[in-house]
């Protein structure tokens, strides 16, 4: 690779260089193939596993495509229609998973937007030990969902779990079925997710807070603004782009929840906590019906795109 580029660069710069400008012009042009050679290794990966799957997924969704069957007839929008007609086999499971995902998202997003902001505000001033606390808050996030899932399945175990035992020790009910019944299963899934990822959002907020010019706070103080006034009129407006980012990414992350319910509630009770992503991969990669699974996938991606766009619109609107 290096050889090719060396040869190329030399050839692109044919006449002997006379001055600085000439030279620079030559590098910017280089050999025509040079930029593409730099781009090529990533571009291959991107085309095959980043861009092609988008189109390929839509293509698959228009076929009756079972991984184990040789024939894959084109069936138009039938896979999509199945998801909306109550007499199809997939209807109930699909909408149950949509419901589960919606419940989880609606409960977790507000907490994941607000709690980390509180943490970030606590950490925003300089004081001894600040780095330590920031690291402690962030620590759960560096662990994977497999570790978190196993750990909390244990902590929330109705009989052996630490949570019920601690509750019992202070005289509260010690037999809450945290992972096997609703609404407790939702409390568990949301609680664990907040515990796991709020350090991540806090770090993003913290960076945003540090970008707000100190003079703005000074000016507000001189004008006699209270702490709450400063928060409302300096901090919140200053954080607007960061808030939008946190809100959007958190909605996406929550809507894509999988590991927590797969490992902690294992879908229980019944299949009530089985989420959309879980439904999709099971349909496609366990039942081998990738056609149906792709239709679910496409529909889900479109829905999330709409949510993101609405999100941006709303925020921009309020600003004006």
């Amino acid at each position: 690779m290096a050889d090719v580029i060396e040869v190329g660069a030399a050839r692109g710069d044919a006449p002997p260089p006379a001055g600085r400008n000439r030279r620079r012009g030559a590098t910017e042009r280089g050999h025509r193939a040079t930029p593409y050679l730099f781009l090529a290794p990533y571009l291959v990966l991107f085309l095959v596993f980043g861009l092609a799957p988008i189109l390929f997924g839509i293509w698959i969704s228009l076929h009756q495509w079972d991984l184990q069957l040789p024939n894959r007839p084109f069936i138009g929008l039938e896979n999509y229609r199945d998801l909306f007609s109550s007499d199809s086999a997939d209807y109930a499971d699909w909408w149950s998973s949509v419901r589960a995902t919606a419940i989880f998202t609606v409960l977790s997003v507000p907490l994941l937007v607000v709690v980390p902001l509180g943490l970030a505000l606590l950490l925003n001033e300089k004081f001894p030990g600040r780095t330590f606390f920031r690291a402690a808050f962030f620590a759960p996030y560096v662990l994977g969902v497999a570790v978190i899932g196993l750990l909390w399945r244990f902590l929330l175990d109705a009989n052996l779990g630490l949570i019920n035992r601690l509750l019992g020790a202070v005289g509260l009910p010690a037999d809450t079925p945290w992972v096997t019944d609703v609404p407790w299963a939702w409390v568990s899934l949301v609680g664990v997710t907040v515990w796991w990822t709020c350090g991540f959002n806090a770090v993003i907020y913290l960076a945003g807070l540090q970008d707000i010019p100190a003079e703005l706070y000074e000016a507000a103080r001189v004008d006699g603004a209270t702490a709450w006034d400063r928060f409302r009129h300096v901090t919140l407006p200053g954080l607007r782009p960061v808030l939008l980012f946190v809100l959007t990414t958190t909605i996406l992350a929550s809507a894509n929840v999988f590991g927590q319910s797969f490992l902690i509630t294992q879908g229980a009770p019944g299949e009530q906590t089985r989420t959309v992503v879980w439904r999709i991969v099971d349909e496609g990669l366990r039942n081998y019906d990738v056609g149906q699974a792709s239709a679910m996938s496409v529909l889900f991606a479109l829905l999330l795109a709409v949510v993101s766009i609405v999100n941006f619109r709303l925020f921009r609107y309020r600003e004006d």
Partner: protein, 274 residues
């Protein structure tokens, strides 16, 4: 007044820290208990006695080769990180420093996929990996994830923040693009490369959904995918399950302690630029 506030602040911070850290400590302590000890009610905090029971069970286990999973994960995450660093830095150089036809379009396409939830590509990517014959191999853990746009985007932004003068000076001395890239730009970008390396390693090491569905053979699993099996096999034998969880946590926690600055910076920068 300020003293009262200071005490209140530290009190609150310590309480919150306890909420975040206690579960992790409990995981470690449980992994050092015997089966009977972990069943006690009320539970004892410290193992009594300290026992290697959990780790003995998982390390000498032929049905669930946890050590093998650990090595698989280590190898996959390392190769994945290397692949991301090489491909993303080269592409980012082209996008940040070189002029060519299609540059804007390719950058727009790459950035566009940043907003796509990765789970929406799982089904077609499975079919593609299947056609390539990659299912149930290490390759399927290492390669497809490297298509993520994050690394390219992140490094391009960093390269753009470096003044081009040094590179121009190198060109004056007769350096070609490859030399400028590898001997001038990359050494200047060490912090960004380190951040990307740590984040890529973490992401790949922790990945759960993809390995669970694309790996089948017990000896080929990554550690997170294997942990699910461990839970199924040991049900309430928590010292064993927690020993597995500890094994999966130790490398990333060490990495976190050593590279905390890089991780935090990477996360906060991704937030501001996104």
């Amino acid at each position: 007044m300020t003293n009262v506030r200071r005490v209140a602040r530290y009190g609150a911070l310590l309480l919150i820290t306890a909420v975040f850290v206690t579960p992790l400590v409990w995981m470690l302590l449980t992994s050092l208990k015997t089966y009977e000890d972990a069943q006690q009610d009320p539970p004892s905090w410290l193992p009594h006695p300290f026992s290697t029971y959990g780790f003995d069970q998982i390390l000498g286990n032929t049905a669930n080769p946890v050590l093998r999973w650990f090595l698989n994960s280590m190898l996959a995450a390392s190769l994945h990180t290397l692949l991301v660093l090489v491909t993303a830095s080269m592409a980012a150089y082209a996008l940040a420093r070189l002029r060519f036809r299609g540059r804007k379009v390719s950058f727009a396409l790459i950035v566009g996929t940043l907003f796509l939830p990765p789970t929406s590509l799982i089904i077609p990517n499975f079919v593609i990996a299947d056609r390539l014959g990659w299912i149930d191999t290490l390759t399927v853990i290492v390669v497809p994830g490297a298509a993520s746009a994050f690394g390219v985007f992140f490094l391009r932004q960093f390269f753009l923040s470096i003044p081009a003068e040094l590179e121009e000076a190198a060109v004056l001395d007769g350096a070609n693009h490859w030399q400028v890239f590898s001997q001038v730009l990359l050494p200047l970008s060490k912090p960004a490369l380190a951040t990307l390396a740590v984040l890529s390693f973490l992401t790949n090491w922790n990945d759960f959904l993809w390995p669970v569905y694309v790996l089948f053979s017990p000896e080929r699993l990554t550690l997170p995918a294997g942990l699910g099996l461990l839970q199924g096999a040991y049900v309430t034998d928590y010292p064993v399950i927690m020993a597995g969880a500890v094994l999966a946590s130790v490398p990333v926690l060490i990495l976190f302690v050593l590279a905390q600055r890089h991780i935090i910076q990477g996360v906060s920068r991704s937030g501001l630029k996104g």
